[in-house]
């Protein structure tokens, strides 16, 4: 894992025009997540948390501002290069998991291997699934897993390429307390190993995290 990898969102704004209305999704938001730290963004629904994560992950071009990942200006890259860069350097976890229904647990975790050259893919996938207590579920399909197990598979997939940055959008939103703890512990472990975690949540207790910022109406609360 790259210890120096970090995410730097610099004065990013995103606006939409919908049905003739001008909507501010995010305005002049800046956050910096250092390698080895775990930052939480808190805020109610519609506050711009997901927009910030998508922009930070290279999936949503901001109208103003820059996003730097590992020193690379994401939106200065061509779309194709940005896609590859994202695959290698940024991991995503979503509330909805987005597991591929016709692939087994092991195959879902190995799925980024379609696009990326990942050294020791099989061993890495098996190791991650073992760490997330899913060794007995390798050949199971997502529909055969519990909600918590599905999220752990999604997390293993996000980590398979050893990204420097992990973006987690409400990863515990659908989970019970036990599974929430498992996921958060896994994210902590990742951060302690040098990763930079930026997690959006609207309800999680935020005691003990390295940094907590609050977002409201698309703006950071002072």
């Amino acid at each position: 894992m790259t210890q120096t990898a970090a995410l730097h969102v610099q004065e990013v704004s995103k606006y939409y025009d919908r049905n003739g209305r001008h909507i501010t999704a995010m305005e002049n938001v800046s956050v910096e997540v250092k390698a080895g730290t775990f930052m939480v963004i808190r805020g109610p629904s519609g506050s711009g948390k997901s927009t910030l994560l998508l922009a930070a992950g290279g999936l949503l071009r901001p109208d103003t501002g820059k996003v730097m990942v590992g020193g690379e200006d994401l939106y200065a890259l061509s779309p194709d290069r940005r896609t590859v860069f994202r695959g290698k350097n940024i991991g995503f976890v979503f509330q909805q998991f987005y597991l591929v229904p016709y692939l087994t647990v092991l195959e879902n975790v190995k799925m980024p291997g379609i696009a990326l050259e990942i050294q020791g893919l099989n061993e890495r996938a098996a190791e991650l699934l073992g760490r997330f207590q899913l060794s007995e579920r390798l050949e199971h399909f997502p529909s055969e897993l519990s909600i918590g197990e599905r999220q752990r598979v999604a997390l293993a997939r996000a980590l398979i390429a050893k990204p420097g940055v992990l973006l987690a959008d409400e990863p515990t939103g659908n989970l019970d307390v036990d599974n929430e703890k498992i996921i958060v512990d896994c994210l902590w472990e990742y951060a302690q190993n040098g990763g930079a975690v930026l997690m959006a949540t609207h309800g999680l207790r935020t005691d003990g995290f390295d940094d907590v910022v609050e977002l409201e109406g698309g703006r950071l609360k002072p």
Partner: protein, 433 residues
């Protein structure tokens, strides 16, 4: 993990979607191949039917020839070769010729290369009184059919007629005309005395209404003996003149080239009736063949017209169906596409997933459609797969066109949905869900 394994697993998972697409292509190509095969099978069957009709016509004509031969035997002779000095008036008055020729004439004629006469009979006819009956009759002596070696089709390996028109009368046998038998109350098997010799009646001829009704037929030797005409004849009967009525003069010319001191007497009415009947029968059969051929050609043209309209409609229909099927598949898999894009899968690979799937549908559908179309189209025209003619319907060009064309068609139909898949904005999908 590769694109291939993603495609394979998705097809297995979403088999219904794949099968519907495959069936759609198979049906479309089945109809197209079936229609084309039907047209080819139609041509083969037309060929077969026309051949059968022609064979039937040939058989009918052969039978007609046989019937004519038999009719001619009973009706009279086509041609009578007489000595050139024979007066026709005397012949009509006496009912028998009174000028004689050497018996060898018939052999000169049969070996002289004559082509227009088929069956030659030397005869000696005399009008005289049957002493025991005290009746005036015509005695007709004949030795039977003399082989014409210019007509080998009628002869067996020994140079004799396979199916002689008239058998040689056995020794001690005679035939009598209808009127003699009626008046003298004679029937087949009766024994009669003639010139102090006993003869058995071998045949009683049916009523003809001419001199035959008062004729007694015996062997040529006997008649020559009775009238002291050894080695002499006074006519040569020729049956089945092969010339047509208009060119009858050719026969006399041909005969006179071999036997210069002869004349040829025709039986024009019989000849004309025979010629016209044969021509009419031939015409009817030809017309039947032509009608069948015309009907088949018209049917073929109608079918070809239908195929010309149907093929593009069916292919367009299949393409539209594939388009919506893949578009629906793209919509259903938007979350999957979004996550693939998120983990670094490029647009080209996303597009490839859908296009390869479409091509697979095309290949599998083409194989099934081609086989079903071939078998169905041929069976429709009555050519089942196990018949040798089925092999004639297999066209490598059509097979190649279908097996290449179907995947290409599926790829074209799936192109826009695949592009839409590649252009899925992960941010929109991930935020909406």
């Amino acid at each position: 993990m590769s694109i291939w394994s993603i495609i394979r697993k998705e097809v297995r998972y979403n088999l219904g979607n794949f099968v519907i697409g495959l069936v759609c292509i198979a049906m479309a190509l089945g109809i197209v191949v079936g229609a084309i095969t039907l047209l080819s099978a139609h041509d083969i069957k037309t060929e077969r039917l026309v051949e059968a009709k022609e064979r039937e016509t040939r058989e009918a004509m052969t039978k007609l020839e046989d019937d004519y031969r038999l009719m001619m035997r009973d009706m009279g002779h086509n041609v009578l070769v007489l000595h050139e000095e024979q007066s026709i008036e005397d012949l009509r008055m006496r009912g028998a010729p009174d000028t004689y020729m050497p018996e060898e004439y018939v052999f000169e004629l049969s070996t002289g290369g004559i082509e227009n006469l088929n069956h030659l009979f030397p005869i000696l006819q005399e009008r005289a009184t049957w002493p025991e009956m005290e009746r005036e009759v015509i005695f007709s002596g004949t030795m039977g059919q003399v082989p014409n070696f210019e007509k080998p089709q009628f002869l067996n390996d020994e140079g004799r007629y396979r199916n002689p028109i008239r058998e040689t009368l056995q020794e001690g046998a005679i035939e009598v005309g209808f009127e003699i038998a009626r008046v003298e109350d004679l029937s087949v098997g009766d024994t009669v005395t003639l010139f102090d010799e006993e003869f058995t009646i071998h045949r009683v001829h049916s009523r003809k209404g001419n001199e035959d009704d008062v004729t007694v037929w015996a062997s040529l030797d006997k008649v020559q003996e009775w009238f002291d005409r050894e080695g002499q004849i006074n006519g040569i009967l020729a049956l089945e003149c092969v010339c047509d009525f208009e060119s009858f003069g050719m026969v006399e010319e041909e005969v006179r080239q071999i036997l210069a001191d002869t004349q040829v007497l025709e039986f024009g009415t019989i000849l004309r009736a025979r010629f016209e009947a044969r021509a009419r029968a031939d015409e009817m059969h030809q017309s039947a063949v032509q009608q069948e051929q015309a009907y088949r050609e018209q049917l073929g043209a109608q079918r070809a017209g239908l195929v010309r309209i149907m093929v593009p409609v069916v292919l367009l229909g299949a393409a539209v169906w594939i388009f919506f099927l893949i578009l629906n598949n793209v919509k259903e898999r938007q979350g999957e596409i979004a996550i693939m894009r998120t983990v670094g899968v490029g647009q080209g690979k996303i597009m490839g997933i859908f296009l390869v799937k479409a091509a697979l549908m095309g290949v599998a559908g083409a194989l099934i459609g081609y086989l079903a179309g071939m078998i169905g189209g041929a069976a429709w025209e009555g050519i089942p797969i196990w018949q040798a003619e089925f092999g004639r319907l297999i066209s490598p060009a059509l097979a190649g066109l279908v097996l290449i064309g179907a995947p290409v068609l599926a790829i074209i139909a799936g192109w826009i949905p695949a592009m839409k898949a590649a252009q899925v904005d992960p941010a929109v999908i991930l935020r909406e869900e």
